[in-house]
Structures are given as C-alpha cells and as structure tokens.
C-alpha cells in the first residue's frame, strides 16, 4: 500500500515536472528560437522531400563510402563526407 502510494506521488511529481517544462518552453521558447536564427531549414526540407521521386539516388546510400562514414566507430573514419556534382545532377535530393 505504502509503495503504491509512493508510486502515485512520484507519478504526480513527474507529471508536474513535465507540465512545468512544457509551460516554460511555451513562455520563452518562441523568443529563443527566433533569437537563435531566423532561418527555417525544415520548410525547405519538407519541400524537397515532397518533390523527391522515391528510389532515385538511393545508390548513394548503398556505397561503401557512405556506409562506412555512417556506421564506423568514432576516429576510424574521417567525419566529413562531401558529395559533389554539377548543377542539376540531384545533390539536393540526395541530401
């Protein structure tokens, strides 16, 4: 009974913490995000995702260069992968 009670109290506490956290973000969050940067890259990303034809460029994900870059342990691979090509070849859609 006592441990059940503690559990309920603890649940209520964590719920309150979550509520506090969310209110705090609401109050200050917008200001902070705007203060950090006016850029909204997620909008462009959504546009690119929508226009992308499924399957095109997937070969990049299959290259050993990409897989090693993504999966290798830290320090075993150079952290930078650069995909280059002329205008219109599809770099943006690959990204």
């Amino acid at each position: 009974m006592s441990s059940g009670h503690q559990q309920v109290t603890s649940n209520i506490n964590s719920f309150n913490n979550i509520v506090n956290f969310v209110t705090e973000i609401d109050a200050e969050g917008h200001q902070i995000l705007q203060w950090l940067s006016a850029l909204e890259p997620q909008q462009r990303h959504q546009g690119v995702r929508t226009n992308r034809l499924n399957g095109v460029g997937n070969w990049v994900l299959e290259t050993s260069e990409f897989r090693t870059w993504r999966d290798a342990d830290d320090g075993c691979v150079d952290p930078v992968l650069f995909c280059y090509g002329n205008p219109g070849v599809g770099k943006t859609y690959v990204r």
């Binding site: 902070i32 870059w69 952290p79 995909c83 280059y84």
Partner: protein, 189 residues
C-alpha cells in the same frame, strides 16, 4: 534523402540529425551566425540542450537590450549539446551557394566542432569547384561524385511522362521511344 534515411535509422536511439540548405538568393541571411543558429534551433527543439541555450538567452537579454550570440558562443553551446549524444549528423546542402567568406567561416566552425566532438559526422554537398576548399579544411574528407544513374533517369522520365496533362498526345510506343533515345544520348556522352 540522406537526412530522412538517417532520421529513420536514428529512430529512438539518441541520435540527432541537423541540417540546412544554403541558397544563392538568401546569401545575406546566411551569415555564419544565422546558419549555426539554425542548427542550434534544431538541437533546442529536440530538447535536452534547452538549459544551455536558455541560460545564454537570459544572460544576453540583460546585456545591451538583448544581444545575439556570436559564432564562438554558438560553437560552445553546440559542443555541449553534442557531447551527451552517441552520434550527431550535420548535413549542409549547396555549400557553393553561400558567399566565399561565409563558407570559410562555416567550414572552420565545423572543423572546430568535429575536433572536440568525434561523435559528429558531417554530410556536405556542393559543386565541384569548392572541392579544394573542403579538402583544405578536411584533408581526409571522403568525396563521392554525384551523377544520376540510368535507372534514376529512366524512373524520372517515366514519372514525368505519366504525369502528362494531355494523355491523348502520348502512347506506349512513343513513351518507350522517348526514354530509349534519351538514355542512348546519355550513354554516348
């Protein structure tokens, strides 16, 4: 595609993927501070790093009626945001579209971040002429040349032809011919 595939794979693991696009038409807005700020925003909105950023915001608000962060401060916060995560992917598209000065500053910022945070992976795209700038900054960077494969071109052509708003102008034979001739033209180059 890389961002989406990394995001899908990250799933519930505590992996962050942040990304942005450079745009020739928005060179002024894409100052190093704004670009780094946009990355911080993505860290901020996934939670976990809120405290560092909020602290900096409250401090800045008191000073000079609300100062902005400078790139070195942003890099510091970013390092703190990256440290507790097993892996962070930073993806930046069309680096050639920002000004040469911003690009140099941005590459130097990234170099500083990966120097301190080995759990970071950076994915960049750009035209071939900036290759030497990348190599200068990251001597051992892995580079992949991008050009569409025949399969890519074929599926793109099929999609466009199937989307023809005047279906009477096209028949199966003509469609096959169009695709064949374009693909032949490509392989001759």
């Amino acid at each position: 595609m890389v961002i989406d595939s990394l995001c899908d794979q990250a799933g519930e693991k505590d992996i962050a993927v942040v990304g942005l696009y450079c745009d020739f038409h928005a060179q002024e807005e894409q100052s190093t501070a704004n670009v780094l700020g946009a990355m911080l925003k993505q860290f901020a909105s996934r939670g976990g790093t809120g405290e560092h950023i909020r602290e900096a915001f409250r401090k800045a608000k008191k000073e000079f009626g609300g100062r902005g962060l400078l790139p070195p401060d942003m890099i510091d916060i970013m390092k703190k945001a990256i440290a507790p995560l097993p892996r962070v992917f930073i993806c930046i598209d069309a680096l050639d579209e920002c000004t040469a000065r911003h690009r140099r500053e941005l590459l130097e910022s990234i170099r500083e971040i990966v120097r301190v945070s080995p759990n970071t992976r950076v994915f960049l795209t750009g035209r071939p002429h900036i290759d030497h700038e990348i190599v200068k900054c990251f001597i051992k960077a892995v580079r992949i040349p991008i050009s569409p494969t025949c399969t890519d071109i074929k599926s793109y052509l099929e999609m466009r032809l199937n989307g023809d708003t005047d279906p009477n102008a096209m028949d199966g034979e003509l469609q096959t011919d169009i695709i064949r001739i374009i693909l032949e033209g490509i392989s001759e180059r």
